[in-house]
Symmetry: C2
Subunit: 146 residues, 2 copies
């Protein structure tokens, strides 16, 4: 749903203000927003502090279970191998992403890890929601830095 | 080196005592042990609390940089897609693992993510160090639970 991706976009804007690659995420359980987060890799010196990982960790803490089968994660950029792998390991129900990542995206672009039967994985996903807005934020960020 | 894998094995034994799937890891920078950790997924309600992720996060914190290019991670079990993906994202220098994981291993068994040129990844790895001891710990854990 667009309203959740709008929250993820707000988070991505927060990341941009903090000098981070602007990627944001929101995690929904049923019809309830459980948490929202943005990329904090540089400021936290943490290679795992992607928006998706921060959301999945926080949701599992709140729900008291590492399994996120009934959750949907909205994220502005197609997940990388680490985040796509975390969806496999948390048995995430669903992922909806915005802009494609042709370089390292592992939800359809380079690989499709979350739905890969050879990994015993079954996270449903779809891409392209508000893709232009999500992509513009990222390309704007890199243009500023050039 | 065997001595680092022995530390990872000690960590795996700690995980077993805590009722966690017994996987342990140690992270080395040059010739110095930076940190050691074991799987804490159940007790932390955290799908990302694998031994490898805990080590990579802690090492990046200690070194003040999310890039772990000069580091070697020793882990008793072949890394899953999430942990293998985290090696890509942290640009980890090297990984040495013990027992193979035919089901979800992504350092050679199902996929080879850390060294995959299509992901622009270049972590070197080798598997099978003290493999029997590493595998026995895990199979013993699951036999006890039957």
């Amino acid at each position: 749903m667009e309203k959740w991706m709008r929250i993820a976009l707000e988070e991505a804007q927060s990341a941009r203000r903090e000098g981070e690659i602007p990627v944001g995420a929101a995690l929904v359980y049923g019809d309830e927003l459980i948490c929202r987060a943005h990329n904090r890799r540089e400021q936290d010196h943490d290679p795992t502090a992607h928006a998706e990982i921060l959301c999945m960790r926080e949701a599992a803490r709140v729900l008291g279970d590492w399994r996120l089968r009934d959750c949907t994660l909205y994220v502005t950029l197609e997940p990388c191998p680490m985040c796509a792998g975390a969806m496999v390991m948390s048995q995430l129900g669903q992922c909806v992403w915005g802009a494609a990542d042709e370089r390292q995206g592992c939800c359809g672009s380079v690989y499709d890890l979350p739905a890969d039967p050879s990994l015993h994985a079954s996270t449903r996903w779809r891409g392209g929601l508000l893709a232009a807005e999500c992509a513009d934020l990222i390309s704007g960020f890199f243009e500023e830095r050039r």
